[in-house]
Amino acid sequence: MVSVLEELGHSVEFRPAQTCCGQMHYNTGYQQEALPMMRHFLEVFRDAEVICIPSSSCVAMIRDHYPKMAAASGDAAQKLAVKDTLPRIFEFTELLVDHLGVTDVGAFFPHSVALHPSCHSLRSLKLGDRPARLLNSVRGLTLVELEQSEECCGFGGTFAIKNADVSTAMLSDKVRCLLNSGAEICAAVDNSCLMHIGGALSRQRTGMRVLHLAEILASRNKQGAME
């Protein structure tokens, strides 16, 4: 992500103090435990011009739940901080396509790729065709159709542990569709899905691997120039 943005001429800052948006705790019912994480997040990114997050589920957590959490906390400063920060937050493909108006980042990646639209990107952020447009502009890349693409991969945060059997069953359907697509690589905008899908692709020795969209967009040919 850093390489893509810098290649486009932007300066990227990383604040090592950041920890976590709190989604895992919030979604598992530990909403109280998520509050300090929200507070910390808002503090760390207080005056950032643009906040780029390469994870649609984190962005969804912040957009869908931070306002509610802040309101429930009764802390007026928190409410203001949320209101102030939200408009500056972008998921990675939103940043590229909407904010920077770019679909071609000059990437070269001569492989076949199936795109798994993670649930948060599909239904919460409604990213639509942004990821596909970015991939379609990558030279050498073949974007392959994925059947039943909108089905959840079965990760669901702690669901993957608490309901491991069902999670694995859902994953097996996703893997079957991915293998049927014939693609070399499964891409997505969420590392959580990728860790899950990749975990099965690896365990089953399928010969297919996973990559985050950003990794693909950062690919150049050996000379580092555009093809």
Binding site: C119, A160, V166, A200
Partner: protein, 476 residues
């Protein structure tokens, strides 16, 4: 007085039930196939509607409105139903509903009743109460008949025998209907059901139904169906008893224009289901001459009191969320231990039971949101699931190991120093388990993930370290 939902209080944890069901290949095949068929049908008739989203919005708002004024509308319904010759009873909980209904049947000296379209009767365990009183109930919905004869449990809100294929159904009919032979085509099975039930429709003097909608401004009741047994039950017997959850009320007859469009398209993928029966009170010379409505609470007022979960009561029982749910597709309805299964079941069943049982149901979801997308009244099921999970934790009902793990994780994620410490520790702790960058086995109880999936090892250099190194090198 306590509310219960069938036998859900005794049902095994979702994870336990699911584990067995996921290994039942016939079931998974049946469920996957059936839900696939309905989903496609639904998509087709929904895509036809340019005003589908507007219908959803209105459906949502109408239901929300009713919940805000439920006392008024219940009283209005009662007044209008009574004025038309009906009798309205109120039941605080399941036992009271059963006692009222058994009393009404006994007053007729009837030994048999025919039943149609009432999951609510399963909720209150009506059949058991009737049988204890020496009264035989006959289910007349084909799927409920299959379930009753098969001594089974329903697995779907709209298609309760979805988990059975035709061969299994044929065997059940052969055994229980005393048939010497029976074809195996769906037409043969439907014909067998027709013969078996017809003489009952024409003879049994008391029917018990549910209601899809109870209209406040006219006092009417509406039953939505496909087979014709609904029409049979609500218009042939001498006495009709309708068990109606208090959330079934809609304000005005005109409001049917929304729900009669969204319900059939969502439930069975049809523009309109074959039959809707709408009646008000008693009509001289036509149909039952005695009509009773039993309004049921059984925990619904408790759901009403929870502002964040109140919209659970908006449900019109279309079943679309079950068909869309990737979890339901893998397990079928029995995993939920309740006649209300799938996404809506995961939020309704625990709440009706005051969260005392079914704590695992709110976790039976990956929060993918497919249910919310298809709900015709826009119930934000994922949001309510997370809210109920909060209640489970708040009540202290979360498993001990989980609580400890979440506490440790919260400590780790609260500050960058803690996170750094955990990262360093993790890198050391993982070493015995890493092979070529992959962890395929974790010890003790930590293997829920690694039983079926590999885990990437922590990278040799974290992003953080790479960044800080680069900063130092470039002086930026």
């Amino acid at each position: 007085m306590s509310s219960y939902v069938g036998d859900a209080a005794k049902a095994p944890k979702f994870q336990t039930a699911a584990k067995a069901l996921v290994q039942n290949t016939q079931l998974r095949h049946n469920v996957k196939r059936a839900t696939g068929v309905i989903r496609n049908k639904r998509a087709k008739v929904v895509d036809e509607m340019p005003d589908w989203e507007q219908l959803r919005d209105s459906g949502h708002e109408i239901k929300q409105h009713v919940m805000r004024h439920l006392d008024f509308y219940l009283e209005q319904f009662e007044t209008n139903c009574k004025a038309a010759g009906g009798t309205v009873h109120w039941a605080r909980d399941a036992d009271e509903a059963n006692s009222i209904i058994v009393g009404l049947v006994k007053a007729q000296q009837a030994k048999e009743v025919i039943k149609v379209k009432t999951m609510t009767s399963d909720e209150v365990r009506l059949n058991g109460a009737l049988e204890n009183a020496g009264i035989t109930p006959y289910e007349t919905d084909l799927a409920d008949l299959i379930v009753q004869l098969g001594e089974d449990k329903p697995s779907h809100i709209v298609v309760p025998a979805l988990h059975r294929n035709r061969m299994e159904i044929r065997q059940i009919f052969l055994d229980k209907m005393n048939l010497s032979e029976l074809g195996d085509q769906p037409e043969d099975l439907a014909a067998a059901a027709r013969n078996y039930l017809r003489e009952k429709f024409l003879r049994v003097p008391v029917a018990i139904s549910g209601a899809n909608f109870a209209v406040a401004d006219t006092g009417s009741v509406c039953v939505v169906e496909s087979e014709g047994n609904g029409r049979m039950c609500v218009s042939l017997p001498r006495v009709l008893i309708s068990l109606v959850g208090i959330e079934k009320i809609i304000p005005s007859f005109q409001d049917l224009e929304v729900f009669l469009q969204t319900l059939p398209r969502s439930a069975t993928g049809e523009r309109m289901n074959p039959y809707n029966s709408i009646w008000t009170g008693v009509t001289p010379d036509d149909g039952p001459q005695e009509f009773h409505v039993v309004l049921l609470d059984n925990g619904r007022t408790k759901v009403l009191a929870d502002r964040e979960a109140r919209e659970t009561l908006d449900c019109i029982r279309c079943g679309a969320c079950l068909n869309a749910c990737p979890v339901y597709r893998q397990t079928g309805g029995h995993a939920y231990g309740s006649m209300y299964g799938g996404p809506i079941g995961a939020i309704l069943t625990p709440q009706l039971q005051s969260m005392e049982h079914s704590q695992t149901l709110p976790y039976a979801s990956s929060l993918c949101g497919a249910c919310y997308e298809v709900c015709p009244v826009k119930i934000n099921i994922p949001e309510i699931l997370v809210h109920l999970r909060g209640k489970v934790v708040e009540r202290g009902d979360a498993p001990f190991e989980e609580k400890m793990a979440m506490k440790a994780a919260a400590w780790t994620l609260e500050s960058p120093e803690h996170l750094e410490m955990a990262r360093k520790l993790g890198r050391i702790a993982q070493r015995p388990f890493v092979d070529k960058g992959v962890i395929s086995h974790l010890p003790f109880g930590l293997d829920a993930w690694t039983r079926t999936r590999d885990l990437p090892a922590m990278p040799a250099e974290s992003f953080r370290e790479w960044w800080l190194k680069r900063e130092k090198e470039t002086g930026v």
